[in-house]
Assembly symmetry: C2
Homo-oligomer: 219 residues x 2
């Protein structure tokens, strides 16, 4: 796993709101590991397309699930893409309208992805994606057959060129507004899990396994 | 407000997973009104950039907050952009790894945005964006001065060309896998609000207003 800092290029150098830029690689891992979906940007016929899809990370490689992407992801390996993962942590309520904001963590990655063809690497990528959205399921559910694996598209993207931006804390109001009779602060936002809902065709006597139940109860 | 159906163009016609496509305009409104941030895709120097930012909707116009976008949003009005809003509703746990999925609602909009210059329209756009992330604050917090309004960039994007995709329900497993001893179902995912955190410099005696407190308690 690389310990090099982030932002090696012009376009991943945060210019606006510089104080929100993070330069540690660990901050990138933290955002990616906490997120749920990524938004993948590609250019098709000169116009951008932004596709939400699942992903997973192993060291400095991001694996992206291709089958969600239709035409988009089939053309992706021949061109540069941008992948963004955003977590909203709070709504920042200022004393004035223009100082309303959001607390967030966001990672942006650029690169030319590789469409995986080697079955072992593809399996490792699919494992990363599966364990990211559903930790513990790789060793619980039935693993892919050779044919199933062939039908899945998995892209690998290096985390070499990336930037991370975060905002935390309360509003930054105009000095004279602190005297106003207006409540100010942060409304925290969280992603939480509800009680697991069994499938209609679940066979009787199969309990919710702890690795799933625990997620609902931890949140 | 338009009552025309969605998907008038080639690229907003959902091809993969057609059963997940929604064609009612009300479905578009529902996704946009439920989301928190959008991911805005633009092309810069031939490569895509995906920027998370706040937004709001009035009828068939989406207003996007420009100041988050740095160089990106200043070039946006001269080109087509793609705006995607995604809500994750659940993690679909299948009996096999390849039938893991996510329940979601996602909207994708294409168009050439207008950078607002008319102060009245800009104010209306800013109001939509503010009320989207913080309902009730427009009539509570201090409104923008003429100078503040001038310093904010607001883009307007028509909702004419849009598509909506949703997935709901349990896993679609292979017929023979229903006999497996593997729990299957959905782990619901929700965005919830925590208790409001007052600003360090909040004047004593200002209570949390009901329109903020109620959001925390409703979730």
């Amino acid at each position: 796993m690389s310990t090099s800092p982030l932002s090696p290029t012009e376009r991943t150098t945060v210019r606006r709101m510089r104080e929100r830029a993070r330069s540690e690689r660990s901050a990138l891992y933290e955002v990616l590991d906490s997120g749920m979906v990524c938004h993948l940007g590609i250019v098709i016929d000169g116009t951008p397309r932004v596709i939400p899809t699942g992903y997973g990370r192993v060291d400095d490689t991001l694996y992206v699930h291709g089958s969600t992407g239709s035409a988009g992801l089939r053309t992706a390996p021949s061109q540069e893409i941008c992948v963004t993962v955003t977590l909203v942590d709070g709504i920042v309520l200022g004393r004035s309208v223009v100082h309303h904001s959001m607390n967030y963590r966001s990672a942006m990655i650029y690169g030319v992805p590789r469409l995986l063809t080697d079955p072992e690497e593809k399996l490792a990528g699919l494992r990363a994606i599966t364990e990211h959205i559903a930790p513990g399921q790789w060793t619980t559910a039935r693993l892919p057959t050779r044919k199933e694996l062939a039908s899945v598209a998995v892209l690998a993207l290096s985390l070499e060129e990336a930037s991370v931006k975060t905002r935390t804390g309360g509003p930054k109001d105009e000095e004279e507004d602190y005297a106003l009779d207006v409540w100010a602060g942060v409304l925290p936002v969280r992603q939480t899990f509800g009680e697991p809902v069994p499938d209609d065709r679940l066979r009787p006597g199969i309990p919710v396994p702890p690795h799933i139940a625990d997620r609902a109860h931890a949140s």
